[in-house]
Every structure is written in C-alpha cells, then in structure tokens.
C-alpha cells in the first residue's frame, strides 16, 4: 500500500482574502463567531460581580465600581451589541439550517437585517435599562 501523502492544506481563515473576496454573507458569518466567542468576557465579568455580591458589601463595592465605571459601561455596551448580533445571526442560522433563505438576495437581506437589527436592539436595551 502506498504511503499516505501529507498535504499542507490551508485552514479556513486563510481562505478569505487570497482565495475568497470578502462579501456581506461571509463577513456576517464570521462576525457571528467573533461576537459569540467575545461574549465570554461579559460572562466572566457578570459572574465575578455576582460572586462579589454573594461574598459581602466590601467585595461588592469593588466589583460594582469596576462594572459601573466608564470601562464597565463600554464593555457592557459592546457586549450588548455582540449579544444582539449573535442572537439575530443565530436565529438566521436556525432558519438556514431548516433549509430556508439560502438564495443570495435573501441571504444578503438577512445579513443586513442582523447588522441593523443588532444596533436597534442595543439602543433599545440601553434606553430601557440605562
């Protein structure tokens, strides 16, 4: 039997750019992954804040000062945008998985809907909970 030939195959991130032109559909897809993974920062921050609340008033004061500072506001505002983008793109993914909206014009419209919708939902979230 012939020895299996080792071929250096490109991994997926190296496909965009040299092989594939960046498009609305591929960019909205990669953004789903980026936002989803970035949300771990907010998760750690929220659990740290909860743990501080459980520990006592002094630890809560420290965590709450960080979480409600301008830096905390920035992280949570960015996380709200990431969350709503990931949310809408996730719904789009479920819709795609069910075999709908896979033609290019519909897929592009759904991509724009995710981008615009996430900004609107973030603005609404900030307005409602300020």
């Amino acid at each position: 039997m012939a020895e299996p030939k080792r071929v250096e195959r490109p991994l997926s991130p190296f496909m965009i750019g040299p092989y594939y032109r960046p498009q609305l559909t591929s960019m909205t897809s990669i953004l789903t992954r980026i936002t989803g993974n970035a949300l771990v920062v907010a998760a750690v921050l929220v659990v740290w804040w909860l743990l501080a609340a459980a520990t006592g008033p002094e630890s809560f004061a420290t965590a709450n000062a960080v979480v409600t500072s301008w830096f905390g506001d920035l992280v949570f505002a960015a996380s709200a945008l990431a969350l709503w983008y990931h949310y809408l793109a996730g719904l789009r993914h479920l819709w795609f998985d069910a075999g709908h909206g896979l033609d290019v014009p519909t897929a592009e419209k759904l991509g724009i809907a995710c981008l615009v919708g996430s900004v609107i939902l973030t603005a609404l979230t900030i307005l409602i909970v300020q």
């Binding site: 991994l11 997926s12 991130p13 992954r33 998760a43 659990v47 909860l50 609340a53």
Partner: protein, 123 residues
Amino acid sequence: MRFLTDRKRAVGKGASGTGTEHHWYMTVSAVGLAFLLPVWVYIFGSALGQSHAEVVATFSRPFPAILTGLVIVVGMRHFAKGATSMIEDYWRGTTRKILIILAHSISYAVIAAGLFALARIAL
C-alpha cells in the same frame, strides 16, 4: 471476534466521529437561549448599578435566580462547544487539544462560580 462490520461501525458518525451530536446540541441550546436571554438581559440590566442590598434582593427571588442559573449553565456550555468549533477550524494537533480543554475548563469554572454565587445569595 468482531460482530459489527466496518460499514456498520461507520454509519452515522461522519467526520466528527460523533455524528450530528455537536450540531444538535448547539441547535437545542440556541433555541433555549433565544427564549431566556431577552428576559435575563432586562433583569440583569435593571439590577446593574443598584445598591448591594437591592442586587441581593433581586437575585434572592426565585425567578431571577433560576433564570440566571439557566443562562449561566446553558450559555457557558453553548460557549464551550462553539469555541471548540472555532478552535477546530484554526488550530491543529496538540495546540488544538490544549485550547479545547482550556475552553471547557473556563466554561465549567464560570458555571461553578456562578451557581455558588446564586446559591449563596438566594439561601
């Protein structure tokens, strides 16, 4: 003696070795989170910035406590498996294994810390 034929052992497993288990988990948890998150964002957002006593009072109530527990457990498992997909796409070999173990470790650590905090606040 092997009773299963090679074909029989391969059926349904696919390239992942676990069939569609991973994809189906992501589908189920995504639908669950779609229902949980809008309500949780409202509760957490309202509690954020309040005093220690008010925050403790909020998360002592059954609904916010149970909802937060669900969001942490389902959300962090969804994260661990989603991060695994990303790691599998961009790294290989030992680096891939280390990063996947790290993602799952972070996920379980956040779940344990979150549930401990909720239990301590609520009880």
